[in-house]
């Protein structure tokens, strides 16, 4: 910015969360006749800082306060507040308050979320207080868990019994070549912590069954379903309903994906598909194949739905089923209704506790106890 005749040099205090954006300077010089002009001058000199002090609408986001000589500018004349030679300004993001206090590193790590008004520091704290269970550390559970960990979800539980196989590596992003033979839960935990050591990763190295589902699921706020068989899908649906937990469902085969969100009382997997196909009638991914990158799309959609639910923003996939066809690149949404005749969540429900899912599906739970 060219210094104008009336521009005043002002000293601006930069707090630690933003200091990396100003070359680690605690005070920087900027010029202008008003707060707005000083901030513009600051933004030109430090473009990364500009992203922190202005949102998409070019306004100062609600979680950032600007001070002139220790007076917050809202109590003065906002961006039009005049500044004079020798004034000191400060750009302070809200970081304290609530049960969880964001550290400067966390403000920095999550800054691209925090600067969005739909998230902000309070939304970030909500994410950090949320516990999500991921069923299956595979194609869908992997990218879902990964993006939830990056977003700072406080506790991520992973239930899986399997070990990493070479054939998993075409799509399962939590596992790498050296992990072949390792328990998927352990491999997943190591990967998630390497990405974000803030996250508390809890592993349940077991198949999820009628015996343990009601012990595991109630420990969490929400469930992400990345199961690879109908037996587990019906079990997780019923157990999530009984535990009163939101279930973010996703499934994939070949080039097709389906995703939806079940909130108890707004329909469930049994309302969508009242009964599983006879064994062998609909193949699984091992039998028919699946496009690796498709798992990334659908798992990411599940992570998005979790984050939206936690933040209470947007329109969720509750009562809607998203269909993705990767070959035609066609996204469609169809309606999903609670079925009044549903045996689980209908008006005259007959299922009041977990049932014999192996008998219902005609197929065993996969895993050590299911073979």
């Amino acid at each position: 910015m060219v210094r104008g005749r009336d521009d005043m040099p002002v000293s601006v205090y930069i707090p630690t969360p933003f200091r990396r954006l100003t070359g680690n300077q605690t005070y920087v010089k900027a010029e202008g006749r008003t707060v707005g002009e000083v901030l513009d001058s600051l933004g030109s000199a430090y473009p990364a800082l500009r992203h922190m002090i202005y949102n998409e609408a070019d306004e100062i986001p609600g979680h950032v306060n600007i001070y002139v000589n220790n007076h917050e500018i809202q109590s003065l004349q906002g961006k039009d507040t005049p500044v004079n030679d020798g004034d000191e300004m400060a750009v302070i993001p809200a970081i304290a308050g609530g049960a969880v206090v964001l550290t400067p590193d966390q403000v920095n790590r999550y800054s691209r979320h925090i600067i969005m008004p739909q998230v902000g520091p309070s939304g970030q704290r909500k994410l950090m207080e949320t516990r999500v269970l991921i069923v299956g550390a595979g194609g869908l559970g992997g990218p879902a868990a990964l993006y939830l960990a990056l977003a700072g979800i406080g506790t991520i539980g992973i239930v899986d019994f399997d070990v990493v196989d070479l054939s998993n590596l075409q799509r399962q992003v939590l596992h790498q070549n050296d992990d072949v033979g390792k328990a998927k839960t352990q491999s997943a935990k190591e990967t998630l912590l390497a990405y974000n050591p803030d996250v508390n990763v809890v592993i349940h190295n077991t198949p999820i069954t009628s015996d343990n589902a009601m012990e595991i699921i109630p420990q969490y706020d929400m469930v992400v379903n990345g199961a690879d068989n109908f037996t587990t899908r019906y079990l997780v649906n019923d157990a999530s309903y009984f535990a009163g937990k939101t279930l973010v469902d996703g499934s994939i085969l070949l080039f097709d994906g389906q995703a939806t969100v079940f909130v108890p009382g707004s329909g469930c997997y049994r309302c969508l598909f009242p009964a599983p196909p006879p064994p062998g009638m609909v193949p699984n991914c091992a039998e028919a194949g699946v496009l690796g990158a498709l798992t990334g799309v659908m798992g990411s959609i599940q992570a998005i739905e979790v984050i939206k639910q936690v933040l209470g923003i947007g329109e969720s996939l509750v009562s809607r089923l998203l269909l993705f066809d990767a070959l035609s690149m066609d996204f469609r949404v169809v309606k999903l209704r609670r079925d009044p005749k549903c045996p689980l969540c209908g008006d005259d429900a007959t299922i009041t506790e977990l049932i014999d899912y192996e008998g219902f599906c005609g197929a065993p739970f996969p895993g050590p106890d299911g073979h």
Partner: protein
């Protein structure tokens, strides 16, 4: 009446790999009968004992026909039918 029928995933191999086929009929049932005449085997994948399989959904535009008139749901010009089996894959 000719309608577009979108076919998902494993059902596609029954219609020669197509994802969209044309069907003739005034109701869902008539369209399925028409598809069966040209793609034998598709009705067995979609129906059993004269009813739609409980693991298969048929949508008229964005509405599940189970909540309309099931197989007797009437079809209008320009409607799109989608046949969607449950998928279990996640790994």
């Amino acid at each position: 009446m000719t309608v577009e029928v979108k076919v998902t995933a494993t059902l596609q191999k029954l219609v020669g790999g197509a994802r969209i086929v044309q069907g003739e009929g005034g109701t869902v049932r008539e369209v399925l009968d028409d598809l069966e005449s040209r793609h034998p085997g598709i009705k067995d994948m979609v129906m059993v004992d004269g009813q739609i399989h409980r693991f298969v959904n048929i949508y008229l535009n964005d509405e599940d026909v189970r909540f309309l008139a099931q197989l007797d749901t009437r079809i209008s010009e320009g409607d799109v039918l989608s046949i969607l089996p449950a998928l279990a894959g996640g790994a």
